[in-house]
Amino acid sequence: MSRRTVSWLAGGLLVAAALSGCVSMPQSGEVQDVPGPPNSNTDDQFQFNPRPPLVGETPTETVDGWFEAMTATPVSTVVARQFLSSAQAASWSPEDGILTYDTARTPQGFGTVNVTLFGVNRLDARGQWLGPADPDDLTLRFPMEPEDGQWRITSVPDALIVDEAWFETSYQPANLYFFNPNARVLVPEPVFLPRGDQLPTSLVRGLLQGPIHSGLERSFLPNNAALDLAVTVTPDGVAQVPLRGDVGSLPAETIDLMADQLAWTLRQDPQIRSIQLLADGEPLVLPGGATEFGVDYGSAFDPAGRYADEELFGLRQGRVVRVVDGVEQPITGPFGTKQYGLSDISLNLDASLVAGVGESGTSVILSSAFGSASGLYAVPRTVMSDAVDLLHPAWDTAGRLWMVDRRPSGAVVSVFHNGTLERVNVPGISGERVTDFLVSRDGTRLVAALDEAPSDQVVVSRILATGRLHGTVARPIVGGPGGLLRVRDLGWRTPTSIFFVNAIAGRQSELRSASVDGSPATFDPQAVYSLQGDLDAQVISSPRTEDPIYLQSSGGGFKALLANSPQLPTGLQVLHYVG
């Protein structure tokens, strides 16, 4: 075989090898780096990465470091865990609760380090405000042990223990929304949850833990449902809620109600615009075929009353008038056309019924708001006549008329519903000296201002519908020992917060707000208005945040608190929103 033939053959073989190499995909090669995007922190919070334990730290330095490590931002306990002994690190459950403190004394001790905290408040595992610890200063003992030559804490409380200032910047108030027992309206439950990216997950986890008060609210999220790691929010604002459990097999109505709860709860994160539920990884289909719903879903279950009338109603010369855009007009019902000698009125949420308080404050007359010969209460009917001193009555979405009669023996709480008048026992309010009261439109909260020495108090009771209607023991949310309050009037600010007018000495009063869970108003410092020269001003407000807020002086003048509010006619005896 000639050399030329051999060269040709070799060349042919090379070409064939190259060709065969080209027609197959590679199975090995160099490791190639992918240029990564810049580290984008979607959270607008500042970041604080605490230092881990250092070699040779003393026991007090270790405890000090542990306290500091718990203030990692975003919230993280990874570093704090490093200050604990192995056994304690494995069993420590900081998610069981939160202790906030105002100030702390420097850690002291060696074998056991003591730390005294002042102004301690407690929150439960779900973030619900439990109020101050009793007593509100707390000394914590941290037994220390050397581990691998370094001091470590062998026992710590199962809670995140942080100072108030950090808590206020790292946690935010939010509501978990549950349904009332007959699923007609949502009931908000205030909690405190981490700000930023962890908020949506914390909100859903809070809902998944079920109702806080099983007698007055219910949840349509299945008991065995669990969140798969976390809720994510896409850049276009879609919150994906990956659930596991029997979610996919739920009836359409339940899914709908579950979506209502989630929509109301997740809309509190401003970056969320719509929600997609995933059941075991697959999008959950809502009644109607959609797999995604906006955060305005379920508006029919608004705790502030979806179908509540937006207008103001007042009394002029004993007749009921409707005020629309500053122009008053008598209602067509009997109270608008005839003189019944009323001193106060309260309209139900759809403004179809008027409860009028007689001039002496001893009776309540119920009448239709519309002028028609037939229909419910077309002819006014007295529903209470033996009262002593009735306060401004209140309505809830269930159509219940709440009345508080201030008798010499103390306040009596009554409810008129379905033609029946019923006395309701509310421990902590019934029998007390009540100066004003409110009932939430969802009918689950009764807020009352109590005239007490040396300081008035505002208390909240939850109304339970199990069996006979009754309230829980009222819990103070404003005032109490050490305060100097003279509460003159109450009004709803939101479904979970109230306004109250506090008279200050020197013919001065102020309008303040408070959360129904009793948490400090420091989360909302804008809600204080100073009022000069009127100790008995009244606040005219509704839980709908978009409704104008007015202050009525004892002389009958009105002052709008918000710009662009319609001017009101003067000379009206009383003025109220519905409810």
Partner: protein, 536 residues
């Protein structure tokens, strides 16, 4: 075996003889090379494009998955402490998505320079996936670096899944678990099966198209060359017939293209050649006839002159010396004239094709001795010794002894003429197929090119040189004709100063094949002579 060899031989002969086959095969082979190169280029481009697109897509998909994972981890409350549950919750949805989207996932960690490999356990992976699918070099990369990286790999599946191994791309990304603050690596393994299928499809299409094109090219080339080769073949056949003497053959010319013009030129050339050949033949025939006629016509007067000369020669002693000398000269020149006339007649017989062999078994050794004896007197006059070197036995050949003797005598006489007093050696040898006589002299030799001309009629190396032996200048020509009549060879070798050697080779049987001579044409002492010459 013999059939195969025969077929191969026939194939090779066909290949050697058929320009059409060579052109077609060359075209097909060259086209195959070109198609191969183009196909290779196309495949390479397709493969690179497919891989680029796939890498971009998988890196983007992995980035999306990792981004989603990071987002989900960022949403986990920081107080939670259950790394195992978090790992599981993190990777499970990715694995599920991977099953529907066709990629596999492995979560390994915690990461670090001293982290154990995937084989050490603690990983969460897609079902059926063999952890060995992640190359060690990528694991090593993540021991040193946390940058998202990718590489090619071979994805393998666990035994019993009946899934074959396949090429793939593995992308690795780092995530940090809030539960323990440790880094974990997520490996995404994307198979390249679809790209392989696409590439196979393209390769098959190219191969099929290439094969069809090659067949088409072969057929087209066959047809095109057929148009060119057919006239050439016709021209070849006509040329062969012309060469065989059929001078009337002509090409059939049709059309006005290059081939037709070639045919016309060919026919013109054939016509011209035919005319010239005819003229030459006629001229030759006339010349031969003239020589023959002259020779015959000269014989009668020569006989009369001869008889008169003989009378004068016999009576020369009665003449005065000058007249006697003239009578002797007349006799001598008449002898030469007779010889010349005899040779001319002999040549004429050859030219007329009238020469006939009378064969018998001739012993060339005897012939050599006889010739030497006959020429001894002449040799001795020159002081030359003629030596016969022959084998012990006879050296037989079927030949016309008269003609062979004449050949050998001519050669010896010619050698004596040119020996210049050196000895002459007559060599005789024979073998199974042939017998040969060579006459070697050490005289002036032959100049280059003269060995082919010595057999020409009336040719002499030096025109000034006298014919001392009374040669006619036709002896070697007649010898050559005699040799050809026997079917033998008569060849000459010579070098200036080294002498010359003439070799007669005859077949054992008249008409028998003659392949080689028992005696070399170039004498063995040729080199020695030259060396001796240069030494002197």
């Amino acid at each position: 075996m013999r059939t195969a060899a025969g077929a191969l031989r026939r194939g090779l002969t066909f290949w050697r003889r058929s320009i059409q086959a060579r052109v077609v095969l060359s075209t097909v082979v060259l086209s195959a090379v070109v198609f191969g190169a183009v196909g290779w280029f196309l495949l390479q481009q397709t493969r690179a494009g497919l891989l680029d697109d796939r890498v971009k897509a998988v890196v983007a998909e992995a980035a999306t998955e990792t981004g989603d994972a990071e987002k989900r981890l960022a949403g986990v409350p920081g107080t939670e402490f259950d790394p195992d549950r978090q790992k599981s919750q993190l990777v499970k949805p990715i694995i599920e998505r991977g099953q529907t989207r066709g990629f596999s996932v492995i979560l390994s960690g915690p990461a670090g320079p001293d982290a154990a490999g995937l084989a050490a356990g603690g990983t969460i992976a897609s079902p059926d996936l063999d952890l060995g699918s992640v190359p060690a070099r990528l694991e090593e990369h993540f021991r040193q670096d946390s940058t998202t990286s990718w590489t090619y790999t071979r994805i393998s599946y666990l035994d019993g899944t009946n899934r074959p191994d396949e090429p793939g791309i593995v992308v690795g990304s780092r995530v940090q678990l809030p539960a323990d603050g440790q880094s974990y690596t997520i490996y995404y393994l994307f198979p390249l099966a679809q790209e392989q299928q696409t590439l196979d499809l393209v390769a098959r299409a190219l191969l099929t198209a290439g094969a069809l094109l090659l067949v088409l090219m072969g057929a087209v080339t066959w047809l095109v060359t057929q148009q060119v080769v057919t006239p050439i073949r016709l021209a070849r056949r006509v040329a062969e017939r012309l060469a065989a003497g059929q001078l009337e053959e002509r090409l059939r010319v049709a059309g006005d293209d290059d081939i037709a013009r070639l045919g016309t030129s060919f026919n013109q050339m054939a016509t011209n050649l035919q005319r010239q050949i005819r003229q030459l033949e006629e001229l030759s025939r006339v010349q031969r006839r003239f020589v023959s006629d002259v020779s015959h016509e000269l014989r009668t007067p020569l006989t009369t002159v001869r008889m008169a000369s003989d009378v004068l020669h016999d009576a020369r002693e009665k003449f005065d010396p000058a007249t006697a000398r003239s009578a002797e000269l007349l006799q001598t020149e008449l002898d030469r004239f007779e010889h010349l006339l005899s040779d001319l007649l002999e040549i004429s017989r050859f030219d007329a094709g009238a020469a006939v062999l009378e064969t018998d078994d001739v012993n060339l050794v005897d012939v050599a001795h006889r010739v030497v004896d006959v020429t001894r007197v002449l040799a001795e006059q020159r002081g030359i010794r003629v030596v016969v070197q022959s084998p012990h036995g006879p050296c037989l050949a079927e030949a016309d002894v008269r003609r062979v003797e004449r050949i050998v005598r001519n050669l010896v006489t010619n050698a004596i003429d040119h020996a210049e007093s050196h000895d002459i050696v007559v060599l005789v040898a024979g073998d199974a197929h042939s017998a040969a006589i060579a006459v070697r002299d050490y005289g002036v030799g032959l100049a280059p090119g003269e060995s082919a001309m010595v057999f020409n009629r009336f040719w002499r190396a030096d025109p000034a040189r006298a014919r001392t032996t009374g040669g006619t200048g036709l002896g070697l020509s007649i010898s050559l004709e005699d040799t050809h009549l026997h079917g033998g060879w008569l060849q000459a070798w010579g070098q200036p100063g080294a002498g010359a050697q003439f070799r007669l080779t005859l077949p054992r049987r008249v008409g028998g094949p003659l392949r080689q001579s028992p005696l070399p044409l170039v004498p063995s002492d040729a080199g020695l002579s030259r060396a001796a010459e240069s030494a002197s």
